[in-house]
């Protein structure tokens, strides 16, 4: 079943939509959730939440890229669950590491401008990503959006772990400069 057919099932409120989503994207969502939560059972529960969220979101939404839409919802649910589960302790998963890494970008005492609309900031980030070489962009998105481990990125993209780390470090610096240049830092 194609993405558009699955979306059509959602639009028709046909419960098979979830079954088909599970069939086509079950592991996909679980992997993203697992990246963040670091616990397989939590990830499974998160994915169930994702299905429910998708069910509630379509309609009215009509995703342009269903896979990316799922990834974003899964990420959102997983991060929410992560924060709930780790409200008072440092837990497993890659979130603490990624937050540490992101701190490099915003660590000089300045803040993401409170006056700037979030969408302007993300638009700036999107412009930045659009100018990156594909490899660097994939590495960045896999790490900071999909919360994939450095090792996992390296393995999947056929790079050395250090190459991934160096790419991330350089991209972070470039992003920081870009956000500064655009006046958001």
């Amino acid at each position: 079943m194609t993405d558009s057919e699955i979306i059509e099932l959602y639009l028709q409120r046909d419960e098979r939509a979830i079954a088909e989503t599970q069939s086509l994207y079950g592991n996909y969502c679980e992997k993203i959730a697992l990246n963040i939560l670091g616990n397989y059972q939590d990830a499974q529960e998160c994915v169930n939440d994702t299905y429910l969220k998708v069910w509630d979101s379509i309609p009215p939404q009509h995703p342009r890229i269903f896979a990316a839409f799922l990834a974003k919802i899964t990420r959102n649910r997983a991060i929410s669950m992560y924060r709930r589960l780790h409200a008072d302790k440092r837990g497993s998963g890659t979130v603490p590491l990624i937050l540490d890494e992101l701190e490099d970008i915003v660590s000089d005492g300045t803040d993401v401008s409170q006056n700037a609309e979030d969408r302007e900031v993300i638009a700036a980030i999107n412009r930045f990503l659009g100018e990156l070489p594909e490899k660097n962009r994939r590495v960045f998105v896999l790490r900071f959006v999909c919360c994939e481990s450095v090792r996992g990125i390296a393995r999947q993209m056929g790079l050395s772990e250090n190459n991934v780390s160096v790419t991330l470090n350089r991209t972070k610096k470039q992003l920081k400069q870009h956000l500064k240049k655009e006046g958001y830092l």
Binding site: E15, I18, A19, E20, Q22, S23, Y25, G26, N27, Y28, E30, K31, L34, G38, N39, Y40, Q41, D42, Q44, E45, N48, D49, L52, I65, A67, A68, F69, A71, K72, R75, N76, I79, L85, S92, V95, I98, L99, L102, E103, I105, V106, D111, V112, D118, I122, I125, N126, V141, L142, F144, V145, C146, S149, R151, S160, E161, N162, N163, S165, N169
Partner: protein, 811 residues
């Protein structure tokens, strides 16, 4: 929470970039199982809940409509899968303190069906012992059938298989591959010291114990429910329990128990321990298979290729062996099947990036089929003459090749099966050699093989004489397929010699071998060993020796000069290696490196390491000849370029001394009066991962005191910091602290040189006229002088800047 905000914002990056990133990302492919990596361990979590689709089907049949979380929860709970919507903390995992009840199976017919599934995977000549038990593994209220498999020979399928009864039919949930070499199932396996039992980890929630004779579930509990002390009490292992995935963190004490204690680690145990440490190359034996799925896929390909039913292949008498294409010791995918009743030849497959690929086949009569070269030979082991075959597979670009020697054995029924005896090849220009460790005749075949190669029968003496050594070197250097590197390469780790494991005796690996090679412009400087042997392992590090060492100089494939450079000193004459019957000389391998010093004139350093010493011999190339140069004659300014952070290369591993590296560089310099002090390193790495990013790992440090541009005193700094089993010395240096690496401290009674180390005590030297000397005992000095940014030194008084407390020392 600025970083949190940014983190959240990133959720909204353009979807096309997310799609781009995840495109072809096969671990997100729902047709494949999720794989969770921890270190080098690969774990395939078992799906223990009913798929939500099935739940929804049940819900739909029940007329339920779900539109919110509560309803989904109720639906799933009604289907007995409540764990899927409750938090994991609330999952009804059995307490570790309350072992689950294990029952015997009560449905013989079901058991037989499941057993048949297992036995069909074995060759008919394998005697398999099966034991069964019932246990509710997925906590759905229904017991699953567990079958432990203990084959009489071979190890790849030793494990526990879990079957669920679905509509009366067996449904295999998964397996625990107790053979940790297997790539399928749940593979973490820990042997409990002093007990003949195994401790393994299951689905990140349960742990059990299984003895070799069968299966005995001792505990079922969530790992995170156990404290480290409890795990230790139950298993004897020191395991960091939280987070759950860090099961592999066996601490050094445990390793020491094996490597320094009375108990010799078994090869199997060693391999298991080896795998716990990320970054180490995998090692394995030819028997190891790449996984049942790939094996099944290979058989599918074969069946389709020859129009034979899959069942006919499955049920036939067959055997397989796995070759090691790149010589890393890992059976990286080439598997050879033989002995099919319906198919007479030997068939090779590769489990590559794109799945299983048919490589070609060998006719046992010695005919070449497809792209595999074969040469038939015979060997008499005293009990009869065996035919054996040297086979070769050469890649399309002719950059790597592999030669394997197979012995063809015949069964009583006339069918044939092959056995890999040794393996030799060249990967990217590097030679490697591996003798099948299950083969008692490896040396004999090796001799035959060398005879074949160089046309020289060296009869009673395994060692090659110098003439033959030169012939080998010349043969190598003149090889037209030498893959010249574009720049200096110092990958000196001789992993191509990966045959011997922790044998307690000297194990001759090869008459001659290339250990490392540096290609510098037109020149190729190689280090060869003659009479190469292994003394086993020192800690986790393989140790090799050679009777003689040679440096060869080649240019454009022509051998120009050869010098014997066998060190006079015997290394490892005490301590650990006395157990092997005395010191061997020299120790080479990872304790030897070739580094480029300069290009004009071309100069290289050959460095020999042991735990107490670094021996450096420097060679220059003059008129196409190798000339030995004393190190003290070299000027620092000519030998060590300033460290350029842009040159920091990629590192392929967490593990130091592996992966790419930066050649020699000057890390820091500091002037004091007429003196200039320089800290140089002969080997640099960037360091990532668990220890931290943004670090430089500098090994082989030297402190050099210069006066008027000339070295007036130099000294190697061999630290005990971050020592890897006492054999390799390294220092961790933070990138942002390079300017603080070395400093002069004026005291009342003289000047002290301080070298800062991030992860260890700093080093101190007392400045003398045109020289310096270590302040010893260093530990004592360090304890007395807590120098850091928080302290100010005034004469021999140290002031704590925060408390203003003063410490006065009498140096």
């Amino acid at each position: 929470m600025k970083k949190d905000e940014l983190f959240d914002l990133l959720e909204n990056v353009d979807e096309k970039y997310i799609e781009e990133a995840l495109h072809d990302y096969d671990e997100y492919d729902s047709t494949k199982p999720i794989v969770v990596y921890e270190g080098k361990t690969r774990v395939t979590p078992m799906k223990i809940i009913a798929p939500i689709a099935a739940c929804l089907a049940v819900a739909a049949a029940a007329g339920l409509v779900f539109s919110n979380r509560d309803k989904i929860t109720r639906i799933l709970r009604s289907n007995g899968s409540a764990t899927s919507v409750t938090t994991s903390a609330a999952a009804p995992a059995a307490s570790a303190a309350e072992p689950a009840e294990i029952k015997q199976p009560d449905d013989p017919e079901f058991v037989d069906k499941c057993k048949k599934i297992i036995t069909d995977r074995f060759s008919s000549d394998e005697n398999v012992s099966l034991r069964c038990a019932m246990l509710d593994m997925d906590f759905d209220g229904e017991d699953e059938l567990l079958i432990s498999v203990n084959p009489s020979r071979g190890t790849h399928t030793y494990g526990v298989y879990v079957f669920k009864k679905t509509a009366g039919k067996p449904s295999e949930l998964g397996s625990f591959a107790l053979n940790h070499e297997g790539d399928f199932g749940f593979e973490d396996l820990y042997k409990t010291p002093g007990e003949n039992s195994y401790y393994y980890y299951f689905n990140e929630r349960y742990n059990s114990t299984c003895d070799k004779e069968g299966m005995k579930i001792v505990t079922v509990g969530k790992f995170s429910d156990l404290s480290g002390e409890e795990v230790y009490e139950r298993t004897g292992l020191n395991i960091t329990v939280d987070p759950v995935f860090n099961l592999a963190e066996l601490n050094d004490n445990y390793l020491d128990q094996y490597y320094n204690g009375e108990e010799r680690v078994t090869r199997q145990e060693f391999r298991r321990l080896w795998k716990q440490y990320p970054g180490l190359p995998e090692i394995s034996t030819p028997q190891t298979f790449f996984g049942y799925d790939a094996k099944a896929e290979a058989l599918d390909i074969l069946a389709e290729k020859y129009g034979i039913s899959r069942d006919e292949l499955s049920n036939t008498s067959r055997s397989w062996t796995v070759t090691d294409l790149n010589g890393q010791g890992l059976p990286d995918g080439v598997v050879v099947f033989s002995g099919f009743d319906k198919l007479p030849n030997i068939y090779a497959f590769e489990d590559g990036e794109d799945g299983v690929e048919f490589l070609g086949e060998l006719n046992v009569k010695g005919e070449l089929l497809d792209n595999i070269w074969i040469r038939q030979m015979t060997y008499d082991d005293g009990n009869g003459t065996y035919p054996y075959y040297i086979t070769a597979k050469i890649d399309d670009e002719n950059k790597s090749s592999e030669y394997s020697v197979f012995r063809i054995n015949e069964r009583e029924n006339g069918s044939l099966w092959s056995e890999e005896l040794l393996n030799y090849g060249r990967d990217g220009g590097e030679l490697f050699f591996r003798v099948g460790d299950h083969n008692a005749y490896g040396d004999e075949f090796l001799r035959e093989f060398n005879k074949y190669r160089v046309g020289y029968d060296h009869e009673n003496n395994m060692k090659l004489d110098h003439e033959i050594m030169l012939a080998l070197i010349s043969n190598y250097c003149a090889h037209e397929d030498i893959n010249y590197y574009s720049d200096f390469d110092d990958s000196a780790t001789p992993e191509f010699i990966s045959a011997a494991y922790a044998d307690t005796h000297r194990d001759l690996l090869q008459d001659a071998a290339l250990f490392c090679r540096a290609v510098i412009d037109d020149y190729e400087i190689s280090l060869f060993g003659e009479g190469v042997f292994s003394t086993g392992y020192r800690g986790l590090d393989p140790v090799y020796g050679a009777d003689k060492l040679f440096v060869a100089l080649a240019k454009n494939g022509e051998l120009l000069d050869v010098l014997e450079i066998t060190p006079e000193d015997e290394y490892y004459t005490d301590g650990f290696f006395t157990g092997f019957g005395g010191g061997f000389t020299p120790i080479i391998g990872k304790y030897l490196q070739v580094t480029l010093v300069s290009r004009d004139p071309h100069t290289v350093n050959l460095q020999f390491f042991n735990e107490n010493n670094v021996e450096i011999t420097t060679f220059a190339v003059e008129n196409d000849k190798l000339v030995k140069v004393k190190q003290s004659n070299l000027k620092i300014s000519e030998t060590y370029p300033k460290l350029d952070m842009n040159d920091i290369p990629a590192l392929d591993s967490y593990y130091p001394n592996r992966g790419d590296s930066l050649a020699a560089a000057e890390l820091a310099s500091e002037k004091y009066g007429e003196y200039e002090l320089r800290l140089v390193s002969d080997k640099l790495y960037t360091y990532t991962g668990e220890i931290g990013e943004g670090k430089i790992l500098a090994t082989d440090l030297a402190l050099m005191l210069c006066k008027n541009g000339e070295i007036c005193h130099s000294e190697r700094i061999i630290t005990d910091a971050n020592t890897i089993n006492g054999a390799v010395t390294v220092n961790m240096i933070s990138l942002d602290k390079l300017d603080e690496l070395i400093s002069f401290i004026e005291l009342d009674d003289g000047v002290v040189i301080k070298v800062s180390c991030e992860d260890s005590d700093d080093w101190f030297f007392r400045l003398k006229e045109d020289g310096f000397e270590p302040i010893t005992p260093r530990e004592s000095y360090d304890n007395r002088v807590p120098l850091s940014d928080n302290y100010t030194v005034n004469g021999n008084t140290v002031i704590d800047n925060e408390t203003q407390l003063r410490f006065t020392f009498d140096f």
